[in-house]
């Protein structure tokens, strides 16, 4: 069977604008969460969010490219440009070889809302301008990345709620494993503007611990009261192993296994059984057992229900092995459509630098997390094999097993 490796990665998030900055934040356990004053005026229950600075693209991209990029597409461009640079893939290579793109994204609400506001003001759709349609579609990220980087392989967006980024990597693995592609750009993007998250806030999913924003996201902690939204984009370059070796590409890690499942029920409530099936399938696909896993990057978003169900599943599969677990969402907030990809980048950075980033604010366990080996502060640790979980609305589950290349 073909082996699939990661030969480049890029990140743009509330922890930093590149791999180096993000590595420092992860190691230092530095939260990127703060207050967005606009959310209060808009009617949010919670103004908390991961604070992500918009990149300046003038000078990097021509006008047409910039006009068509929505906020999350801008982040995706930054992360992908970094990933391609690190993979030693330039425009000349992209023009001469068939490279695909499979990227997770599940909304472009700001662009849609702004276009609607323009229509209401002018009663004339033409006043929305030329970029609105290309920014508004769910596939905005892949349609723009494929245009900017002149891609000619598989080209589509994966929409699977908060598991989008993880499924995108899993599907990239499948395309390469089946011999259909040699290289696929995979990742996930998430808009952070206040216009994009109001309806999520509306169902009471967000933490209202506003007095100390960096304490608000507290996965697995007894006193958690909801998630904090975040965003940005993360990209990994997936490549067939022999192809990467022949190209002399830097090899960061192997994507060894992909597992998935659907809970078959409630639209918002997670399932310990469903998530266990995805994890076990990923382990089986990688040909490894639970006891070999050195680290688990949990999905845990800091919601009361979600963390409890994941804790039950992790307890069932991993407690006998005392496997170290952390949720980097304690630092980033929930990066939603991007999270499954960003958490692969975060975990790869930990693997490359032999440490486990902390699960911030884990002060007291609850009845479900009490048996888990949750890491509250950064520890030095060699990681050869890790598992990353991502779950989403509608009961979609994805798990990835990543292996160090020796």
């Amino acid at each position: 069977m073909k082996r699939i490796v990661i030969t480049g990665m890029g990140i743009y998030s509330c922890l930093g604008k590149n791999l180096e900055e993000v590595t420092q934040s992860l190691y230092a356990g530095k939260s990127g969460i703060g207050i967005d004053p606009m959310r209060k005026d808009y009617g949010y229950r919670s103004p908390l969010t991961g604070l992500v600075e918009r990149p300046v693209l003038k000078g990097l991209l021509d006008r047409r490219s910039r006009v068509c990029l929505a906020e999350e597409g801008e982040y995706a461009y930054m992360a992908t440009a970094e990933a391609l640079r690190n993979a030693n893939v330039d425009m000349d290579y992209l023009e001469k070889n068939e490279v695909g793109v499979l990227y997770g994204n599940d909304s472009s609400a700001k662009a849609v809302i702004e276009a609607h506001s323009t229509a209401m003001q002018y009663k004339d759709t033409q006043m929305m301008g030329s970029g609105a349609i290309f920014q508004s579609m769910n596939s905005t990220v892949t349609m723009n990345l494929s245009t900017i980087f002149k891609l000619r392989g598989i080209n589509m967006t994966i929409s699977a709620a908060c598991a989008s980024g993880s499924h995108a990597i899993g599907l990239g693995l499948m395309f390469i494993r089946n011999g259909l592609q040699d290289m696929v750009i995979c990742g996930g993007a998430q808009e952070t503007h206040y216009l994009s998250m109001g309806s999520f806030d509306g169902i009471g999913a967000f933490s209202i611990r506003v007095d100390d924003p960096t304490k608000a996201s507290r996965p697995f902690d007894r006193d958690r009261d909801g998630l904090v939204p975040g965003g940005g984009a993360a990209t990994v370059i997936l490549e067939e192993y022999e192809h990467a070796v022949k190209r002399g590409a830097p090899i960061i890690a192997e994507v060894a296994g992909y597992g998935f499942s659907s809970n078959g029920g409630n639209i918002s409530q997670p399932s310990d059984l469903g998530s266990s099936i995805a994890m076990e399938r990923a382990l089986r696909d990688a040909g490894v057992s639970a006891k070999e896993i050195d680290y688990i990057n949990a999905h845990a978003t800091s919601t009361v229900q979600g963390d409890a169900f994941e804790a039950m599943a992790l307890d069932h599969l991993f407690t006998p092995y005392h496997t170290p677990i952390s949720s980097t969402k304690s630092m980033t907030g929930h990066e939603c459509w991007m999270a499954g990809a960003s958490e692969i980048v975060y975990s790869n950075l930990m693997m490359l630098n032999s440490f486990i980033a902390p699960n911030l604010n884990f002060e007291n366990p609850d009845e479900y997390s009490k048996n888990l080996n949750i890491i509250p502060q950064t520890i030095e640790k060699n990681i050869d094999l890790y598992l990353s979980n991502s779950f989403g609305f509608g009961g979609t589950n994805s798990a990835l097993v990543i292996k160090k290349i020796k």
Partner: protein, 80 residues
């Protein structure tokens, strides 16, 4: 509004918003072939013209407008 004033406003948005090089902005320049204005750019120009000059460009009135000079004339005529 005088033609000179129209030229100043049009050139300003062509440089600042459509990002066309200033040295290309000559009366005889063809909008499509010399300035590279495509159909999507033109959508944005319609928006900018409405915001700057207060009228909406009608495509049928633009069919004989091929050069930048003719575009200045068209706008000058419309805002008279």
């Amino acid at each position: 509004m005088q033609r000179e004033e129209v030229i100043k406003t049009v050139n300003h948005f062509l440089v600042e918003e459509i990002e066309i090089e200033e040295k290309l902005l000559k009366e005889e320049a063809l909008l499509k072939d010399d300035l590279g204005i495509d159909s999507l750019d033109f959508v944005d120009i319609v928006v900018i013209v409405e915001k700057n000059f207060g009228f909406k460009i009608k495509p049928e009135e633009m069919k004989d407008v091929r050069t930048l000079g003719q575009f200045y004339d068209y706008i000058t005529e419309k805002v008279k």
